[in-house]
């Protein structure tokens, strides 16, 4: 490196650091990949919300689906609820994991606001929540047809999240399912 070019070295380093820090401004530290990505949904044996039927992993497999972790104490869940209903109306299978909630309150919620879920797992103690690595509702998991976790979204699912993040992955998995 010539001595003239060497003079620019601090400028290069500064530019590099500036780019790095600028990028850091727009990173969301709470957006962590789930430890479960590409691993099967943990086995569970929990009652369904509303009846005492026991649900297991097998009840959630068979097609590409969303698993939505929600609770009546979770304010953001109320925000995303109307959009989940829209998604369910377009035929996207959504399963619910009612996380650390009272069954009565949860059923009241579904009666009042509508029910986008195919079925709901009543995880009263949060045991499946811990196995899934849930750290705060709402969280939404994308499951493939064999019940393997492919993606986790933390926070509200709205139209923006669905269109830019979840739908492309969903369609890709759907495609893989139909042409094995």
């Amino acid at each position: 490196m010539g001595p003239r070019l060497k003079l620019f070295l601090p400028l290069f380093l500064f530019a590099l650091l500036a780019i790095l820090l600028f990028r850091g401004l727009f990173l969301d530290p709470s957006e962590m990949p789930s430890a479960l990505i590409d691993r099967p949904l943990p086995a569970f044996d929990l009652p369904a919300l509303g009846d005492d039927r026991l649900l297991t992993r097998a009840d959630l497999t068979g097609e590409v689906a969303l698993l939505n972790v929600w609770a009546t104490w979770c304010v953001s869940c109320r925000v995303e609820h109307p959009y989940l209903k829209q998604l369910a109306d377009t035929g996207i299978p959504i399963y619910g994991l009612n996380y650390k909630d009272s069954d009565a309150a949860a059923q009241q919620w579904l009666a009042d606001l509508g029910n986008p879920y195919r079925l709901n797992i009543a995880d009263r103690e949060g045991t499946l929540g811990v196995d899934l690595g849930v750290y705060g509702a709402p969280e939404t998991y994308l499951l493939d047809a064999s019940g393997v976790v492919r993606y986790r979204h933390v926070g509200v699912v709205d139209e923006g999240v669905w269109r830019t993040v979840l739908e492309p992955l969903y369609l890709e998995l759907k495609q893989g399912e139909s042409t094995p």
Partner: protein, 158 residues
């Protein structure tokens, strides 16, 4: 009298708020388990409130993880088993002292590599500077002659 009553009331209120702020306590079958509980709860990071360990955090998930930690310790799990359990669910992120290897390799090696690079840069700078110094102090024969002429000239002038 009313002053005293007010004073007493405020003292009691202060005590009450303090009692509420305390986090739950667990009973351990041995002091050794309790010490391990303290150590592990300080080493495990709360996934929700990312700059606190689960011992300090009041988030519901931290409470759940403390409860789980207590259960597992009482069930006789080893430290490694408990940490593996947590990492399998919440990722390497939950450990304030991440394991060595895999994706955390860079985390461990980066400071050492940066230190070596910094020493290299400083050493190179020092070497080039001392080389430059040696060059500048030594006069060539031509410069020596010119200096001599200048000195002779000033002597003549005075």
């Amino acid at each position: 009298m009313t002053v005293l009553r007010h004073l007493l009331l405020s003292v009691f209120l202060l005590l009450a708020s303090h009692a509420q702020a305390l986090i739950e306590t667990y009973d351990f079958s041995s002091p050794e388990l309790e010490a391990r509980y303290q150590q592990l709860s300080e080493e495990l990071r709360c996934p929700k409130c990312q700059n606190q360990n689960i011992a300090d955090s009041n988030a519901p998930i931290a409470q759940d993880l403390r409860k789980l930690l207590h259960q597992q310790l009482e069930a006789g799990a080893s430290d490694a088993e408990i940490l593996d359990f947590m990492v399998a669910r919440y990722g390497e992120f939950v450990r304030y002292r991440p394991s060595f290897g895999g994706t955390t390799l860079w985390l461990w090696l980066a400071p050492v590599l940066l230190l070596i690079a910094a020493i290299g840069v400083v050493a190179a700078a020092l070497r080039s500077r001392s080389a430059a110094n040696r060059e500048s102090t030594a006069l060539s024969a031509e410069e020596q002659a010119r200096l001599q002429r200048l000195l002779d000239k000033t002597e003549q002038d005075t």
